[in-house]
Symmetry: C2
Subunit: 201 residues, 2 copies
């Protein structure tokens, strides 16, 4: 019964998500998750440090998808173009067949403030990783930080739309729309507008 | 001894921060905080629901400073100009004399992952509030969300710089620089750059 077989982490994730959605995150035990796929609790802990980690497994591959996008940009590409590529690269991490899973996962997270905070932490770590990838291309520190933080925020906006119930566009298409919106917004704005009414001494 | 006097919450905050910084957040009890300013633990709980809230007290006024900035923008101002004003308005919430307090607070938060997640949650709530203020001005939903999320991220970038040890610029000046950086970055970028190499079907 405790024999390892390929796909055990994926089966545990799927089972955990179904249990979390059906009876609540707090009410579900690691033993229940393990038993529902016919393994011991010890096997569960071989793959995940706790039940929360079941929802956040794969952070490294997730971040790597963004870094791959940054690194695939031509060496002379502007920083925001590299960020745009990182969002499209990450979008390929979320193909259509993953959308129902992502929706259930989000409903579990939405019901639990501690999980929401962990999810925000994920996007925050992502911004730090992308900023480092940009600095490695020679982008200066402020530009790298601003571009990466903005990119992580926009990915969050795009992802929230992608998992809406009636949304059918791909995540890559939504990410493109969100990036275009930022371009329109910053082009409309006058960076000195507010400053003029608050003159510096 | 338990007599209420003006300034008790502020005195509790200051004492709590000193205790957290000196002996660690986890190691500090609400009783110690209360006793260090000569009030009962019951008085402490009249002002704060728990010791974590001491660090996050004032969220409403913090958010309101952003909303005030958005509302002070001329009705026809572009969304990002309203966001720029919200950042400058919030900057006035952090005058020079608050910088040492903000630095100590940050060192306490940096030492505790749960507090970091709570801090991220604060910026996330802020983005939701600013987006609502923009929608109330007639900004459409996507533009309001993108502008507000970007604004909250940039405030985070500016604030992190403001509390660096050798930083002397005001938060308003740093926020202006960060906003200008975003404008430069988006103007350099070609929104279709990556899309061209990933043609849509």
């Amino acid at each position: 019964m405790a024999r390892w077989e390929p796909g055990t982490p994926e089966r545990l994730q799927k089972a955990a998500l179904e249990l979390f959605a059906a009876q609540g995150f707090e009410q579900t035990t690691t033993l229940e998750i393990a038993q529902s796929v016919g393994v011991t609790e010890r096997t569960f802990f071989r793959h995940f440090s706790d039940k929360r980690e079941v929802l956040f497994h794969g952070q490294q591959s997730f971040e790597q998808a963004f870094v791959d996008g940054v690194e695939a940009a031509p060496p002379d590409a502007p920083a925001m173009d590299a960020v745009a590529r990182s969002l499209r690269s990450a979008a390929s991490f979320f193909p259509e067949e993953r959308r129902p899973y992502s929706r259930i996962r989000q409903s579990v997270i939405d019901a639990n403030p501690a999980l929401q905070e962990r999810e925000l932490h994920k996007l925050s770590r992502l911004a730090v990783t992308v900023a480092a990838a940009l600095r490695a291309r020679g982008v200066d520190d402020l530009a790298a930080t601003v571009a990466a933080q903005t990119g992580a925020s926009l990915f969050g906006v795009a992802f929230s739309r992608w998992i809406k119930e009636d949304e059918r566009r791909t995540l890559a298409d939504i990410a493109d729309d969100v990036l275009r919106e930022l371009t329109v917004l910053t082009r409309q704005a006058d960076p000195e507008a507010g400053a003029r009414t608050h003159p510096r001494p």
